[in-house]
């Protein structure tokens, strides 16, 4: 039987913490770019202009049906040759995950906006609001509340997908774990510790979103009863 020995892993905990920090950076940047881009794609898809709507549908479907790892490789290895710029692993990761998650966020936005009763649009029109201002003042504030659980779920998916960036040698938590495992010859302990770190990171994040849901439920319509 294997003798567990965590000393080597814990001695280099600062390496793992640095990886964790890098993971969190990519995660938040991808969220910050992905959510607005997702809203844009959703509005584009629902637009009445056929060309715009078809283009946005294509982008959404393309990024939903291709594996994120393939997208990452494409942005990291192929795009720099095509447009002849230097690509760092960091930029490639943020770019890939912003666009990839925006395709999924777009579907959440579309579902949320469609779920709002048609009477709300009509009421807004009746008091003289344009389509744009009723979207911003009436529809979105209600829709966003309903979307919180789906957003949380997608963000957690995104957080887990960021492990892929270790394959383009960006020093995220997974990459640091690979380094440490080959340095200490203790893969069992290293990968177990890393799994636990991811588990708690995601647990904390999901608890925060549950709390947010409860707060929104208090102020009227929410998904919790």
């Amino acid at each position: 039987m294997h003798e567990w020995d965590f000393t080597a892993t814990l001695a280099d905990m600062d390496l793992l913490m640095l990886g964790l920090w890098n993971t969190i950076q990519v995660f938040f940047l991808a969220l910050a770019f992905g959510i607005p881009l997702g809203l844009g794609l959703a509005l584009g898809r629902m637009s009445r202009i056929p060309v715009l709507s078809q283009l946005c549908s294509f982008v959404i479907e393309f990024f939903r049906t291709t594996p994120p790892l393939v997208q990452l490789f494409w942005f990291f290895f192929a795009l720099p040759i095509l447009i002849s710029v230097q690509m760092t692993p960091f930029v490639a990761s943020v770019l890939t995950f912003s666009i990839q998650s925006s395709a999924f966020f777009a579907e959440i936005f579309r579902g949320g906006i469609n779920s709002i009763d048609k009477g709300q649009w009509e009421a807004a029109k009746a008091i003289g609001m344009t389509r744009k201002s009723s979207l911003r003042r009436i529809i979105l504030p209600q829709a966003v509340k309903r979307m919180i659980p789906a957003f949380a779920e997608r963000s957690i998916e995104l957080l887990k997908t960021t492990t892929l960036i270790s394959t383009v040698s960006y020093a995220d938590l997974m990459f640091q774990a690979n380094e440490l495992a080959s340095k200490t010859f203790r893969p069992l302990e290293v990968y177990t510790v890393v799994a636990i770190m991811y588990f708690f990171l995601i647990l904390i994040f999901s608890q925060l979103t549950i709390r947010l849901e409860y707060r929104l439920a208090k102020t009227g319509e929410g998904t919790l009863r």
């Binding site: 939903r64 291709t66 790892l69 290895f77 990968y191």
Partner: protein, 222 residues
Amino acid sequence: MDYNWNFASVFTYWNVLATGLWGTVQLFVICSILGLGGGLVMGMLRYSKSRWISYPAMLYVEVFRNTPVLVQIIWFFFALPVLTGIEISPFMAAILGITLNTIAFSAEVFRGGIQSIEREQWEAGKAIGMSYAQSMRRVILPQALKRMLPPLTSRGIEVFKMSTLASVVAYPETLQQAKLIASYEYNPIEAYTVVALMFFIVLLPLLQLTYLLERRFGKSDA
């Protein structure tokens, strides 16, 4: 943008890509059958009234939903052999990681589907003398499965995409084969573009199917 696209350099290796696609399909079929079947069992355990059954099932689901698949595959590939002394092939590691993950996710779909069926259906089953297992199989599951079809199809798409992760343990699936071609021919643009298009072409019909199923079964009990 004056790059000369040269797809011929990829298509001369079509048999390499075909091997990869076959590897992907194998992973997909094995992991979806085991994952969805296991998910059904796990979902019912999770729904059990006994805490001794539902709590361990909940722990399993939470652990596998809250850790990245890549960590799981690498754990099974590098860590499990140390623990058990059994060498694990890349294929086995990928199957273990993706299947156990799919079990956890589909268990939640099954549980949600079963819970969404009104209690009267259970009572009606009981009233005509059915046991718990009988009502589950004959009354509840047939209705619940309809509602679960759209999320289960999405899960299938996820499994197909997840199979690319097997490339990190050098299992010859589509992406791994494209990496090989790209490193022989120095043509990453064409190689990865072809792979992206392959996935798009295979999965687009499935994605369209989910839209259709959502419209058909999503809301009503048609």
